[in-house]
């Protein structure tokens, strides 16, 4: 067999923190071969991203490489990158030219104030001595290769004019600009919709085969691993616990952690056992009738008619007491706007939201006054996606959870404290943590705090907007189980907005599928996920990666003609 293009031997990385030294990566060794894909799998904090970055010597402070070898074999030479200074010209000549990097945040990984073209030109000109015009020609060619329509035109656009999938394509074009031997893809599709994810993975795979590159794929999603990887290395607490071919890892995992990781992935492939059948009452708790939200469309400043966007288009649905309703769709499908319209955080253009109060009286949310709306907001609460951004870093946990109670103004300070302690116990945290600040908690714990805050006012409906999307797969199922458990002894209904179909299938009784503002299909979760009626739903479901390398669902997915052309936002 040909020698590996890159060998990592006994790599060690430390983080010098204020109080102690964290051994982030311990004795990690692996090889990358031409034309093959190694997936480095692990949950957040396992050290997989920092390992990948150390290959390019771009480990951020306070990370320090303390040992090991990184042997790069290209152009007939062998170089140990670990021996070189991290900003030496030799290392800079490797970055971008021999090793390309794409990573998770397509929103923020490109500069917002430079055009896409100029950012790609830059890397082309940096590594090959050609003039501006030739560089631009190369850029346009690259953008064409990553299937960006009208590449010459799009090169002069800015990142905010690109959709998430398009940005990731541009990022891939940039990483491949100088024909690197190795491509590092750090969670390349985590922030994307399933359909876009499938397209991007197809694209990466195709370009890799064409160019015979080695690829290091970093991901926490076992589904993606099964669809794309040839070899797998499982990382935990900075060590590689198991390596093997993709088939060995999925069908004969040896290490207990690998088995557990697979189990929590497979667990989300079916509905939760704990789900009790929701009682369908003749009087629904919440009725949405013909809800529509149009953005823009007003006359512009000089009388020009502005572009109108129907974010939510004539959506009608009902939510019964004790029921979990899932809303799935790609980004831009209007699912988040729908949640906000129900809460009237965003004013609907047309339509009604009817809510049945505790006393059985039905009120029209769209006609409520400000003070009545406040009362409605006590009954219907929101849990946010980002557990890091949704908690004020300068407030203690006691202040964060007690805040809705303080605003409500009904309880005394002592009662608020008791209630806060009770809420913390309810979400599985100790009341002792009350005086601590959010930064002391992990993502999963923060999401528990967010849930406790949502429960503070004894709500009847909780709208969870991508509440588990930012969490690791094992934490994800824990949070879902927590919500189900809370629901079993509180009188609660959920509207669960998510792009993750497996989560919705696990958690929800009924699922509504949205596409471009319209409600495509609504029905029992099991039916939507197995035998949907609509073509769009079928395409969406088939794009979900299947965590079984012997049955690659995504590669044989149903494609809708309208889905394959990404639109500019």
């Amino acid at each position: 067999m040909e020698k590996p293009v890159l060998s990592v031997e006994n790599l060690n990385l430390d983080f010098h923190l204020r109080t102690h030294i964290l051994h982030a990566v311990r004795d990690v060794s692996f090889d990358l071969h031409r034309g093959r894909t190694l997936a480095l799998v692990g949950e957040s904090g396992s050290g997989k991203s920092v390992t990948a970055r150390s290959l390019m010597r771009i480990v951020d402070k306070p990370g320090v490489m303390v040992g090991g070898r990184i042997i790069l074999r290209t152009q007939g030479r062998e170089v140990d990158l670990a021996q070189l200074a991290s900003n030496s010209p030799e290392v800079r000549a490797v970055r971008g030219a021999r090793i390309g990097l794409i990573f998770q945040e397509p929103m923020s990984s490109l500069s917002p104030v430079h055009t896409i073209g100029s950012q790609i030109d830059e890397v082309v000109r940096l590594h090959s001595k050609i003039d501006k015009r030739a560089a631009r020609a190369r850029t346009v060619e690259l953008l064409g290769q990553v299937e960006i329509p009208d590449p010459a035109e799009m090169a002069d656009r800015y990142t905010f004019e690109f959709s998430g999938g398009m940005r990731q394509r541009a990022m891939i074009a940039m990483a491949l600009a100088v024909n690197p031997d190795i491509l590092i893809a750090d969670e390349p599709t985590t922030a994307l919709d399933v359909t876009t994810q499938a397209e991007i993975l197809d694209l990466i795979k195709r370009l890799q085969t064409e160019r015979g590159m080695a690829m290091l794929l970093i991901t926490h999603d076992m589904g993606v691993v099964a669809e794309v990887a040839d070899d797998v290395a499982v990382m935990r607490f900075g060590r590689i616990v198991e390596t093997g071919t993709v088939d060995e890892i999925f069908h004969a995992p040896k290490h207990a952690y690998t088995q557990r990781l697979l189990a929590s992935t497979l667990k989300l492939e079916q509905p939760a056992d704990a789900r009790a059948e929701a009682v369908i009452t003749p009087q629904p708790l919440l009725t949405v009738k013909g809800l529509t939200k149009v953005y823009g469309g007003a006359k512009g400043f000089l009388g020009t008619k502005k572009f109108a966007l129907k974010a939510v288009d004539d959506v009608s649905l009902v939510l019964h007491a004790g029921e979990n309703l899932g809303v799935v769709g790609e980004s831009g499908s209007g699912k988040t706007t729908l949640g906000r319209l129900i809460l009237r955080i965003v004013e609907p253009t047309e339509g009604q939201v009817l809510y049945r109060q505790k006393d059985g009286k039905e009120i029209d949310v769209t006609a409520l006054s400000k003070s009545e709306l406040r009362k409605f907001h006590a009954d219907v609460r929101l849990i946010f996606q980002d557990p890091f951004a949704s908690l004020n870093p300068r407030m203690t946990i006691r202040q964060i959870i007690g805040d809705p109670l303080v605003v409500e103004g009904k309880l005394s300070a002592r009662q608020i404290e008791e209630k806060t302690a009770e809420l913390l116990r309810l979400v599985g945290l100790s009341p002792d943590v009350m005086e601590r600040y959010p930064h002391a908690f992990s993502g999963g714990q923060r999401q528990r705090i967010g849930i406790a805050r949502a429960l503070a006012l004894d709500p009847r409906i909780i709208i969870a907007d991508e509440a588990t999307s930012a969490l690791d797969v094992s934490i994800r199922s824990q949070i879902l189980d927590l919500l189900l458990e809370i629901q079993s002894h509180l009188d609660l209904s959920f509207i669960f907005i998510s792009h993750d179909i497996s989560v919705v299938r696990y958690f929800c009784d009924r699922v509504a599928v949205m596409h471009r503002g319209k409600l495509v299909e609504i029905g029992p979760a099991e039916k939507i996920c197995t035998t949907p009626d609509e073509d769009y739903t079928r395409a969406l479901i088939s794009a979900v990666p299947n965590p079984d390398p012997r049955n690659k669902r995504m590669l044989h997915r149903t494609r809708l003609a309208s889905l394959s052309t990404s639109t500019v936002c």
């Binding site: 390019m56 490109l110 500069s111 917002p112 430079h114 000089l302």
Partner: protein
């Protein structure tokens, strides 16, 4: 872009009308008018004036007419003849009084702004990139001193030092012998010798706060993924920083143009009085005390216009700097 500028210009018109009304209303607020304050000054001096003379003066100046007619006449004069009214105290048309002061005000403001930029940009970048290094701590220390020391104290200290150590004449913009002399290289040198104190004093707190703002902004930007992207391209480190995060952290620099003018007039009046600078601040203060209404009103109006222009310029520059603003 042109559309945007046009739109902004059109929006300025109602703002200006509102401001002119407010500035006129403000100078009418204190009881009495210029003549009552003149009378009380004269009466204190022991030479009372005949009431008939007072009435004659009052109708001559138009002070006996209703407020809105006075306002209308004032506005009409400005719009048709560029006549801002007559300063009672200076016994000159307002425009002449103001223009003689406005030049020096603008010159000092602009020089102070340049100083703020020239000093705070490199220090801010250094402090953010080498965060918590010794150099950063030293700059932070002096930065906080710059923020904490009141400007007029710094002005007095510098005046004392330059007088005792350098034996320089201080205060004002020129030494006495050059005040009325025609322009010559010697006079220019004298101006420069005088100018450094006000510019340093006025620019000091601005520099200090700008360093803090730039340091904080750049610190946030440095950890953004696009910086990693730039590094992963193989760019040299200084280019990574200057081309990407600094470019984005630069917004407050440009925004500063908008507030530097009103800040200089309202914020550094005390400094200007201490340093005896012929800028607008002390003049405005005196006009308000003496109820010299047309002068005060014109001043406030002019400052409003300058503020609006400053805001417009800074917004246009921001739009050029940041496409996200341009396309919004």
């Amino acid at each position: 872009m042109l559309n945007y500028i046009l739109k902004r210009l059109v929006y300025m018109i109602p703002t200006l009308i509102g401001m002119s009304i407010i500035s006129f209303a403000i100078i009418q607020l204190p009881p009495g008018d210029y003549l009552t304050s003149l009378l009380s000054t004269l009466a204190d001096g022991g030479s009372p004036i005949d009431p008939a003379t007072v009435e004659r003066l009052r109708s001559q100046y138009g002070l006996d007419q209703p407020v809105w007619i006075q306002y209308g006449k004032w506005m009409l004069g400005i719009l048709t003849r560029g006549d801002f009214g007559f300063s009672f105290e200076w016994n000159q048309p307002v425009s002449e009084v103001i223009w003689s002061r406005m030049g020096s005000t603008l010159a000092i403001s602009f020089a102070a702004l340049l100083l703020v930029w020239a000093v705070s940009l490199p220090i801010g970048i250094y402090s953010a990139v080498r965060r918590n290094s010794i150099g950063d701590h030293v700059f932070t220390f002096f930065g906080f001193i710059g923020l904490a020391v009141p400007n007029f104290i710094l002005a007095l200290t510098l005046m004392y030092v330059s007088f005792r150590v350098f034996g320089q004449s201080v205060g004002g913009l020129f030494s006495p012998e050059y005040v009325d002399a025609p322009w010559s290289p010697a006079k220019l040198w004298d101006l420069i010798l005088h100018l450094w104190i006000p510019i340093l004093v006025i620019g000091m707190s601005g520099t200090a706060s700008m360093i803090r703002i730039l340091r904080a902004n750049l610190t946030d930007e440095l950890s953004k993924p696009y910086v990693t992207t730039a590094r992963a391209k193989g760019l040299p480190e200084y280019k990574v920083i200057v081309k990407y995060p600094v470019r984005i952290a630069l917004n407050p620099f440009v925004s500063a143009i908008g507030w530097v003018l009103p800040e200089l007039v309202s914020g550094v009046t005390i400094t200007a009085i201490v340093l005896n600078l012929p800028t607008a601040g002390p003049l405005l203060l005196r006009a308000l005390v003496a109820q010299d209404m047309y002068l005060a009103g014109s001043f406030i109006l002019l400052l409003s216009v300058l503020t609006l222009i400053g805001m417009l310029v800074s917004d246009i520059l921001l739009a050029l700097l940041d496409p996200r603003i341009r396309y919004n």
